[in-house]
C-alpha cells in the first residue's frame, strides 16, 4: 500500500512537470476546465430556467444532483479520463506491453498513469455550487447527512470507474474503436438527471442505464435527506457488480491482447 502511495506521489510530480512544459496549453486547459465545470452547472441552470418541476422533483433537487455529478466528474477527470482516452492508443500501438512488464498492478498503472490536476477545480466549483444552492433555495442539510453522503459519493465514483473500465476493455477486441472514452463521457452525462426520467420511459433498454444515474442521484438525495435505504443498497450492489465485472473482463482482455502494434 505504501509503495502504491509513493508511486502516486511520483506520478503527480511527473504530471505537474508535464504541465509546466506546455505552459500555453496549460493556460488554455485551465480556462477550458473552468468553463466546462461552470457549464456543467450553468447548463442545467438554463435548462431548468422556465421549469417548475421535472418528474415531480423541484428545481433545487435537480440542481443538487447536477452539483454532485460535478463533484464525481471532478474526481474522474482528475484521475482517470486521460488514461482511458489513451488506452486505445496503448492497445493499438502495442504499448500496453510496456506497462504489463512493470512490477506493479497493470490495472492500477493503466488507470492512473496520467493525472490531470487542473480538474481538481471541478471539485472546488462543485462544492461552491452546493453551498450556493443551499443558501439560494434554503435547503436544510445536516452534518450527519453530509457525512453519510461522502462515502456514497466515493462509491458512486468507483462504480463509474468500473463502468468506464469495462467499456474500455472493448478496445482490446476492436482495435479501430478509439472513441470509446468520448462515448463514456457522453453516456455519463445522464448522471445529471434523476433516475425517475428513465423509469418514466417504461422501456427495458432505458432501465439498463439506471446505474449511471444512481452514482450522483443517491449521494445528492442522502445529502438532502430524501433518499431511501433501497436506493443506497442498489448503488452499493451495482458498485460491487461492476467491480466484479471489471476484474473479470480485465483478465479476459489480457489473454486476448496480442501486443502487436500498428
Amino acid at each position: 500500500m505504501t509503495r502504491y502511495l509513493r508511486l502516486c506521489k511520483v506520478l503527480w510530480q511527473i504530471n505537474i512537470k508535464a504541465m509546466r512544459a506546455y505552459r500555453g496549453h496549460t493556460y488554455m486547459m485551465f480556462f477550458t476546465t473552468l468553463g466546462w465545470s461552470l457549464i456543467a452547472f450553468g447548463a442545467m441552470y438554463f435548462v431548468t430556467y422556465r421549469v417548475d418541476k421535472v418528474f415531480g422533483l423541484s428545481r433545487a433537487e435537480i440542481l443538487m444532483i447536477t452539483s454532485v455529478y460535478g463533484l464525481i466528474m471532478g474526481i474522474m477527470h482528475t484521475l482517470f479520463t486521460a488514461n482511458f482516452e489513451r488506452f486505445s492508443q496503448l492497445v493499438n500501438r502495442g504499448e500496453l506491453y510496456g506497462i504489463l512488464i512493470k512490477p506493479v498492478s497493470a490495472q492500477f498503472l493503466v488507470s492512473v498513469l496520467r493525472i490531470h490536476p487542473l480538474s481538481l477545480m471541478r471539485l472546488c466549483i462543485g462544492i461552491a455550487f452546493i453551498l450556493l444552492l443551499i443558501s439560494q433555495f434554503s435547503i436544510s442539510i445536516t452534518l450527519t447527512n453530509v457525512m453519510l453522503a461522502i462515502p456514497l459519493l466515493f462509491i458512486g465514483a468507483y462504480m463509474l470507474y468500473c463502468v468506464w473500465f469495462i467499456c474500455n476493455m472493448i478496445v482490446v477486441w476492436f482495435h479501430t474503436v478509439d472513441n470509446m472514452m468520448s462515448f463514456m463521457i457522453q453516456a455519463s452525462n445522464i448522471g445529471r438527471y434523476p433516475p425517475e426520467m428513465l423509469f418514466a420511459t417504461r422501456n427495458v433498454w432505458a432501465f439498463l442505464l439506471v446505474p449511471l444515474t444512481l452514482f450522483s442521484a443517491v449521494p445528492a438525495r442522502v445529502m438532502m435527506g430524501t433518499s431511501t435505504l433501497t436506493e443506497i443498497v442498489i448503488l452499493c450492489v451495482c458498485a460491487l457488480a461492476f467491480h466484479a465485472g471489471s476484474q473479470f473482463l480485465w483478465k479476459r482482455a489480457l489473454r486476448s491482447y496480442v501486443s502487436g502494434g500498428v
Binding site: 506546455y22 488554455m28 486547459m29 438554463f46 421549469v51 421535472v54 462515448f183 438527471y193 432505458a206
Partner: protein, 262 residues
C-alpha cells in the same frame, strides 16, 4: 472526376473504420435523446410557449443535424497533420489540402448522416404522435440551402480551429474550448426560447447558432419564408468572413510549419 475519385476513396476509408463511425453515431444520439426524455417530464412555469411535441421534434432534428452538420476535422488537422508533421505529404501533392480534408469530412458526414436518417425514420415511425413539424415546398427549398450553408460554416470554423496548431504545438486546449463554445451556443441544450432573453440575443449575434440551431428550426418549419432568406443572407456573410480568416491563417500558418513533427 478527380474530385469524385478522391471522395470515393474517402468513403472507403470511412467504411474501413465502421466501428468508430458507429460509436460516433451513438455519441451524437445520446445527448439529444436524454434531453428529450428530460423535457418530457418537465412542467413549465406559466408563460412558456413550448409544447412537448415541438420540443421532441426539435431534439429529433437536432440529433440528425448534429450528426450531419457538425464537422470533426479539427483533431486530424491539428494533431496528425500539424503537430505530428503529416501535413508535409499533402503539401507535396498537386491537390489542395483543404479539399482533401473537405471531401474526407464530407464522406464521414454523409455516411453518419444516412445512419442518422435511419434512426430519425425509426423514431418517427415509433413515436410520430410526439412530433410536430410543418414545412412547405418553398420553405424546404430554402431550408436545404441553409443546411448546406450550415455545413460549410461548420467545416470552415473547424478548419480554423485545427489550424491554431500552427501557432501552439499542443492545441487540445483550444479544441476543447471550441467544443465548449459550440455546446453552449449552437443549440445543443435546447431551443433558445426556453432560455433567458439576454442569452438568446447574445447567441444570435455569434456564428454558431447558424451552424446548427437555425438549420434545425428551419427544417422544423418554425421560420417563415422571409425569415429563411434573412438567415441565408446572414450565413453567406459569416461564410465570407470565415473563409477570409481561414485563408489568412493558412497563408501565415504554412510559413510557420516546420514539418518535423513530435
Amino acid at each position: 472526376m478527380k474530385h469524385l475519385r478522391i471522395f470515393l476513396l474517402c468513403c472507403q476509408e470511412v467504411f474501413e473504420s465502421r466501428g468508430r463511425v458507429f460509436i460516433w453515431l451513438l455519441i451524437n444520439l445520446f445527448s439529444p435523446v436524454i434531453l428529450m426524455l428530460f423535457w418530457q417530464g418537465a412542467t413549465f412555469v406559466s408563460g412558456t410557449s413550448m409544447s412537448i411535441s415541438s420540443l421532441t421534434s426539435y431534439f429529433l432534428f437536432l440529433t440528425v443535424g448534429s450528426i450531419f452538420l457538425i464537422a470533426h476535422c479539427e483533431r486530424q488537422i491539428s494533431v496528425v497533420d500539424i503537430k505530428e508533421g503529416g501535413l508535409s505529404r499533402y503539401l507535396l501533392k498537386p491537390y489542395p489540402y483543404v479539399l482533401i480534408i473537405f471531401l474526407s469530412e464530407l464522406a464521414y458526414r454523409m455516411v453518419q448522416g444516412v445512419l442518422g436518417m435511419i434512426v430519425f425514420g425509426a423514431l418517427y415511425l415509433l413515436y410520430h404522435s410526439y412530433f410536430a413539424f410543418t414545412l412547405g415546398t418553398e420553405q424546404m427549398m430554402v431550408a436545404s440551402f441553409i443546411v448546406a450553408g450550415a455545413y460549410l460554416m461548420s467545416f470552415i470554423y473547424k478548419f480554423i480551429v485545427g489550424m491554431s496548431a500552427f501557432w501552439v504545438t499542443e492545441a487540445s486546449g483550444i479544441l476543447q474550448f471550441s467544443d465548449m463554445v459550440l455546446f453552449l451556443t449552437a443549440g445543443f441544450l435546447g431551443p433558445f426560447i426556453l432560455y433567458p432573453d439576454w442569452y438568446s440575443a447574445i447567441v444570435h449575434m455569434l456564428p454558431f447558432a447558424y451552424m446548427l440551431y437555425v438549420p434545425v428550426i428551419s427544417a422544423q418549419g418554425v421560420l417563415d419564408i422571409g425569415e429563411l432568406f434573412r438567415v441565408l443572407s446572414i450565413q453567406v456573410m459569416w461564410i465570407v468572413c470565415l473563409i477570409a480568416i481561414a485563408a489568412w491563417m493558412w497563408k501565415r500558418g504554412v510559413r510557420r510549419y516546420t514539418g518535423v513533427g513530435i
